[in-house]
Symmetry: D4
Subunit: 233 residues, 8 copies
C-alpha cells in the first residue's frame, strides 16, 4: 500500500488528502515560525499545489514574502497564498458572496474570501452592511440573491445572518467575530445569535473562523457547479 | 412625620410611593396566593388606585375574578387590572409601540402593553414582525416611527431591536424573552444580542420582564407629553 | 403591489415565501395547540403545499392525525407531514446522508431526515455508528462518501463530525444533541466539540435542531442537482 | 432617489442618518487609526455636523488634536468632540443627571456626559456617591430628583441604580462598569445586579457603554422638551 | 481511646462533635425519609441535645410532628426543632439581626433565625426592607445597629448587604436567595453582588443557605458574649 | 449638622466613618497614582488615623515610601501602612489565625494579616499547610484552635476551609485565591468549593480579597474582646 | 472477515468487544424501555456474558426482575446484574476501595462498586467519611492504603480526593456527584475541585459517573494483578 | 516522632513523601525564581532524589542549567530533570504511550512523557495523529495496543480519547490542552469532550496538566509491573 503521507521531519504532509477530501491541506500559521512556514510552503509549491497559510502576522508575512517572492501576502486577511501561474485561477462558474457587517469584521471576511479564491471560487465581497443601516443591505440584495452561497461575517450582536437568511433561497454560512466589548464576551453574543437565528438555511462556524466558512462555502460552490464527488478508491 | 406606608399584616402598602415615584406599587403575583392578591387588590380599589397584578396564573386569575368581578383578567398577559371607571382611561396624548417578533413572544408583549395602559398610555401593538420576514416589519414602519417610544419584544436571537433601532429616532426598550431552545439558554442569547446591539438608542430589561419594559416606556411617554416632574416635598 | 402574506387571524401565512426562499414555511409545533396546527395545515393542504410541522408531541399528533387523516405522524421524529399524492415524492437525484452516533440521537436524526424528504431529497439514514465502535462507521464509509451532503447527529462528546469530516470531501452539517448528563450541560459539550472540530468542511446548527440541519442540507442538495437560483422579481 | 450615504473610500458616511434618526453618526474610535479618525472628523466638520469620537486613546488623541486644533480631547472620557462655535451649545431645557458610584467609574460617566452634551443636553455630573456611604447620595437627592432622566454608572456590585430607582420618578439608564476584580468577572456582577434591580424604571446598556447610556438619555431628554418626532419622508 | 462517634446503622452520630465544635450536629433533612429523621431525632432527644433538622417538607413535617409531638415544625422555615424544656431557651445576652429584603426571602430568613435560636441566641427579625423602598430600612436602623451581628437575606439583585454594610460597625453575613427570574440565574446575580459588595465587613454563604448564615452568626454571637473557646483535649 | 465628609478635590475623606463603622476608610490603591496615594495618606497621618493602602505595586510603593518615610511598605502583601508610634500597636487580647494552603497564596494571606494588624489585632500566620500534606496542618492544630477567628486562604481546589471547619469551634472566613490554571478559572474553582463547604461555620469573601477577610475577622476579634458596639448618635 | 457485531433489530450487540476491550458491553439503561432491556439481557445471558445494566429506575427494575428472576436488582445503585453462577465471582486478587463522602453520595458509590464486582474485582466500600469529620477517614486509612486503587465519590465541595490523594501511593479515580444546592451547580463545584486537586495521582470522570469510575478502576485492578494485555488479532 | 519534613527557610521539603506516596515531591516551577529552584534542586540532588521541575520558562531554564550543569532542560516540555547517573534509568518493564493530536499539543505531551521517565517508566511518544486524519492513528494502533497505559493529549475538540478508548483495553488518561480559539474557551471544549467521552476506560486531568497525566500513568505502570503497595508504618 502506498503511504498516505510524507514525513518531512517536524511536519507530515498529507499527500493523500487531495484524493480523500478534494483539496490539499491548509496550513494554520499561528504557533509556527516563519522558517517552518517557508519550508512547508516550498514543498507545496514544488508539488504544484494551491497553497494557503492562515493567521500569519504581518511580521512573519514579510519574512516569508522575502524568502518566497512568488507568494502573495494579504495583510488584512493575514494569509500567504500561492497559485500556480500556469493554472486557471477560477475553477468553477458562479460566485459566492462574502458579506460583512462592520469595518472591524473585514479581516475575517477577507480570510473567508481568500480561502474561497485559493479553492478556485469567484467571490463577491460586500462590506459594511450591518443591520443598523439596513438600507445599505437592500441596495446589495439583488447581487447577494444571485450568488450560489453566502458567507455572512458579523460581530457585536450578530443579527445580519438572520436578516439575510429571510431574504435569500440559498445556504448561508455564518461567522461570528470577536468584535465587540463587555457582554460580547469575545464573540459569544454573536455566536449565540447565529445559532438561534429565526431564519432557516443558516449554519455556523467557530468564532473568527473565516477560513472554515470559506472552506465550507467552497465545497458547496463546487457541488453547485456539477463537481463530481471523488471517492477514495 | 406622616408614615410613608401602611402595615396590612402580611403586606406593607407603600402609600407614599405615588408621591415619590408618580405611580402606585405594581403587585408581583408570583409566589402570592389568590387570597393574598384579593386582599391587596381590595385595599387598592378602596383607595381608588389604578391597580395592576402581574404573573397571575389562569387558575388564580379565575378565583380573583370571581371574588372581584370589577377587575379584568387578561389570560395572555396573565395580569389582573382595575381602572376607576369614572376616571379617564388614557392620561396622555400620543402612543407607545409594543412590537413583538414571534407569536410565542406575545404574552410578554401583552404584559408590557397592559402595564402601559394601566399607567394611562395608549399602545400600538404590532406582532409577528420578526426579522426572518422583514417585509412585514417594513409595512408597519410608518406606524412605528410615529410613536413616542417603542418596546421591542423578541426571543431566539433577539435581532429585532437592532433592526428597528436603525430605523427610528426615538428611544427603544428591548425585552429578551425565554422563547427558544438549546443554546438560547432561556433567553440569554436574546439578552446578549440586545446588549450588544449595533444601533444606538436601545436599552434592555431582564429576560421576560414585559412589565419592566412597559413601566420604563410609560415613564418616558409621560415625560414626552409634558408631565411635570413631581418632587417629594 | 400584491400582498406577500395572507392574514388568517391568529397566524399570517407567508405566501410569498416559496418565491422568496424556494420552500413554503415550516411550522414549529411547540407552543401551538392541536387546533391551531390543524387549521394551519388545512390551509396549506388546500394550497397544495408540501407541509411539515415539527416538535409535535405524541398526544397532539394523535388529535391532528384524526382530524386530518391524509397527513402522516412520525412518532420518533415527532413531525406531521403532508405531501401531495399526485406529485413526485423526490424532486432531485442523489441522496443526503443522515448519520447518528447513538440510539438516543435517533429522534433528532429522524427530524432531519423527514425535513429533507418533505423538501424532495432522498435520504440515507445510518444510525448507531458512534466513535466508540469506529469499525461500524468504516463499514458504512463507501455509502457515506457517495452522498452529496452529510448531516451528522451526535450527543455526549460530539466527536463524530470530526472523524467523518476527515474522511469525506463534501459538506457536513453537524447537529449537537442534548443526549448526555453531568458536564454535557444539555448538549453544550457536543456543540463546543463540533464548533472546534479539527476537520474542515463542518458547520453547525443549534442543539437538537434536526430540522435546521435537514433544511440546510436540502438547500445544498438542490444546488448540487442544478437547481436554478430563483430571484424575487 | 437621493443616495442615503456617501462613499469616502474606507468609510461610508451615513448622510441620511440625521434625517432618519435625528442625530449624525457617532464614530467608534477603537480599531481606527488616528489618520482615519482625522479624515472622518474633517468631513464632518466641513458639513457642520456636531462630531463625537469615542474610545480614543491618549496617544491618538494628541495626534488628532494637533491635526485638528479646533476639536477638543477629553482625556478622562477619551473622546474627541467638535461643536460648531456659531451654534447654540445646548439645544434643550432641563438637565440629565449622570451619577457615578466610585472614582474608578468616572471615565464611563464622563463618556456618557460628553455624549449628552454633544447632543445638546445639559448634564449634572454627580460622582462618588456609592451605596457604601449612602449619606453622600442623600445630600444630592434633591438635585437628582429635579433632573429629567438619570444615567447611573456603577461597577463592583452595581447596587446604586436599585437605590436611586426607589427614590425618583423619572427613567433611569444604568451602566455597569468593568471596575472590580475576582467574581466581578469584568462587569458581569454589576450587569446582573442592574438587570435584576428590584426598583422599577431602570433599563440597562452594555458593560462600560457610557456612550450608549448618554445617547439613550439624550433621546429621552429631547422628547421631554417637546422635540417633534421627525419622520423619514 | 473513646470512640468519637456512635454507629446507628444507617447513620453515624458524631457524639464528639459538641466537644470539638461546640454544637451538636445539625440534620440536613433533604434526601432523608421521615422515618430516618424520626429515628435520628429520637436519639438526639434521648441524649438531651438541642436538635435542628432543616429542609423538611410540609408533608414530612406532619409525619414527624405526629410521631414526635414534643418537637415543633416551622412551616415557613421548613425546620423541625427540639429544645429541652428544662433548659434555658437563650444562652447568651444581646441579639443578632436577621434582615430580609422581600417577602419571598422570608423562608430563608426564618431558617437562619431558627438556627440561631436553637443555638441559644436571641434574634431580631426585620423583614421587607429591600432597597427599592429604602425609607423602610432607615426606620429600622437603630434596632439593627444595636445588634451584635446581622444576617442579611436578599434575592434579585442582592443590594441590601452593601447598603447595610455601609451603615453598621459589626459583622454582616450575607445570604443570596434564588428569588428572581431570567438573568437572576437562580440566585447567581445576588451572590455575585454580595461577593463584590463595596462595603467592608460582609462575608457570604451559599445561595439559599439560611442555616449556614445562622450558624456563622451564632458562633460570632457566642464569641461576643465572652464564650470561652473550648479546646479538644 | 456637621458635615460627614471632607472634600479634598479628587477625593472625599469620610471623616464620619470611624464613628459610623468603627474604623477609618481603607484606601484601595489600584487605579490610583502614587501622587494621589501620597496626598491621601498625608491627610490621614495628619489626623492621626491608622492608615492602610492595599494593592500598591512595588514601583508605586517605592515612590510613596520615599515621600513618606514614616510609612512602611510590605512587598509581599503589597500594602502601605502607618500606625501612630505613640499609640498601642495591639488594641485587643487574643489572636486571629491567618492560615494559607500554598506558597503562592502568601500575598493574599499577608494582605489579610496586615489588615488585621492595622486594625489592632494580633495575628498568628500559618503557611504552607495545604490538604495534600495534611500532617503539616495537624502539627498546627492546637495553635489554630486557640485563636478567636481563622482566616483560611487557599487557591487551586480550595479544600482547606472544609477540613479546618470540621476541626475548630470558632468562625472561619475563607478567601479563595486565583492561584491555579486551566479549570481553576482564576479562582472560581476555589470559590465554589468554599461556598459549598460541607463543614459549618464558614463564610466566604471575593477571590483574592485578603483585605476583606482581614477586615471581617477584625470585626469579630473586637466583638470577642468585649468591644462595645458604637452607635451613630 | 467475521462480522464484529450482531444485529438484533433495535440494537447491535458488539460481540467483538470482549476481544477488543477485554469486557463485554455495559448497557446504559436510561432511555431504554424495560422490554428492550429484558431482550438485551436475555441475549447476553444466553451467551454466558457477565451482564450489567446501569441507571435502571426502581419501577423498571421490578419488571425486569420479574421477567428474568436470575438477575439481581440493586435499588441503591440502580443496576441490574447477572453473573454466571458456575463461574468464579472474583477473577483477581487484591481489592479496590470505593470511598464516599456523604450518605447522599451512596448511590453513585454503589454504581461504581457494582461495576467493579461485575468485572471480577473485590471491593472495599467505605462510606460517610467526608472531610468535615476527618477523624472518621483516619480510622479507615490503613484499609484504604492496602487497596490497589481508590475510587473517591464526593459531592458538595468535592474535597475528599485531595485529602486522600495526599495520603496514599496508588491511583485515585475521583467522581464528582450532583449532591448539593445553589452554587454547587449540579456537581460543577465538586468537579472543578477534583480537576484542581493539589495532590498528585488523581484523575476525574464525569459528574455522577459511578460506572465510569468503576470501569476505570477495574482496568487498573486487572493490570495490577498481572492481566496480560490482549491484542485484537 | 521523626519530623516528616525539613524546613529550608522559604520551602519545606517533604522528606516523608517518598515513603508515604512512593515518589519524591515534584517542583512546580511557575511563580518560583531561578534562585529558588536552584536551591531546591541542589538539596534534592544532595539527597540523591530523582528530580523534576515543571513549568520552567526558557529564560529560567538557562540560568538553572548554568548553575547546575548536571541537570537537563527540555525546552519543549519546559522541564528541569536530574536522574542519578549511577542508578538504572528505567525501573519497570513495559511502556506507557503518550499520544498527541496536533503539533501544538506537543509541549503538554512532552511534559507527560518527561514525568513518566523521571518516575522510571519507558514511554512511547506518538504525535500528530488527530482524528481529522484517522489513517495516521490506525498505522500506530498495534504499538498503542501493546502499551500498559495510554496518555492522550488533545486540544480543539478533544475527540481523540473517545476514538482510542474504543480501540484499546487498557486505561486512558486524557489531557485537554488549551490549543484552539474562539469557543474553545482555553481548553474547555476539549475538557468537556473528554469528560463526556462515549468510550469507557477514560479519566481526565486538568487542562494542560501534562505532569498530572504522566504522574497518574506512572502510578498505574508501576502497579502493572508488580510494584508492591508500600504502607506508611
Amino acid at each position: 500500500m502506498m503511504k498516505s503521507y510524507e514525513d518531512h521531519g517536524f511536519f507530515k504532509l498529507d499527500t493523500h488528502r487531495e484524493k480523500r477530501q478534494g483539496f490539499p491541506e491548509i496550513i494554520y500559521g499561528e504557533g509556527k515560525t516563519s522558517e517552518q512556514i517557508i519550508e512547508i510552503v516550498r514543498v507545496m509549491i514544488e508539488k504544484n499545489q494551491r497553497t494557503l497559510v492562515t493567521r500569519v502576522s504581518e511580521e512573519k508575512g514579510k519574512v516569508i514574502k522575502e524568502a518566497l517572492p512568488e507568494t502573495s501576502y494579504n495583510e488584512i486577511a493575514r494569509t500567504i497564498c500561492w497559485l500556480n501561474p500556469n493554472e486557471e485561477r477560477f475553477l468553477y462558474n458562479g460566485y459566492t458572496n462574502v458579506v460583512s457587517a462592520g469595518t472591524s469584521d473585514l479581516p475575517i471576511a477577507m480570510e473567508a474570501a481568500t480561502t474561497l479564491e485559493v479553492m478556485g471560487c469567484r467571490v463577491e465581497l460586500i462590506t459594511d452592511v450591518g443591520v443598523a443601516g439596513i438600507h445599505r443591505l437592500f441596495d446589495k440584495l439583488p447581487k447577494i440573491r444571485s450568488g450560489l452561497v453566502t458567507v455572512v461575517v458579523a460581530g457585536m450582536e450578530g443579527a445580519l445572518p438572520s436578516v439575510i437568511g429571510g431574504l435569500v433561497s440559498h445556504p448561508i454560512i455564518a461567522v461570528p467575530t470577536s468584535v465587540g466589548y463587555g457582554t460580547n464576551f469575545n464573540g459569544l453574543a454573536a455566536l449565540l445569535s447565529m445559532l438561534n437565528a429565526c431564519s432557516s438555511g443558516i449554519s455556523v462556524v467557530n468564532i473568527d473562523n473565516g477560513f472554515g466558512a470559506g472552506y465550507n462555502a467552497a465545497l458547496i460552490h463546487k457541488l453547485a457547479q456539477g463537481e463530481k464527488v471523488k471517492l477514495l478508491s
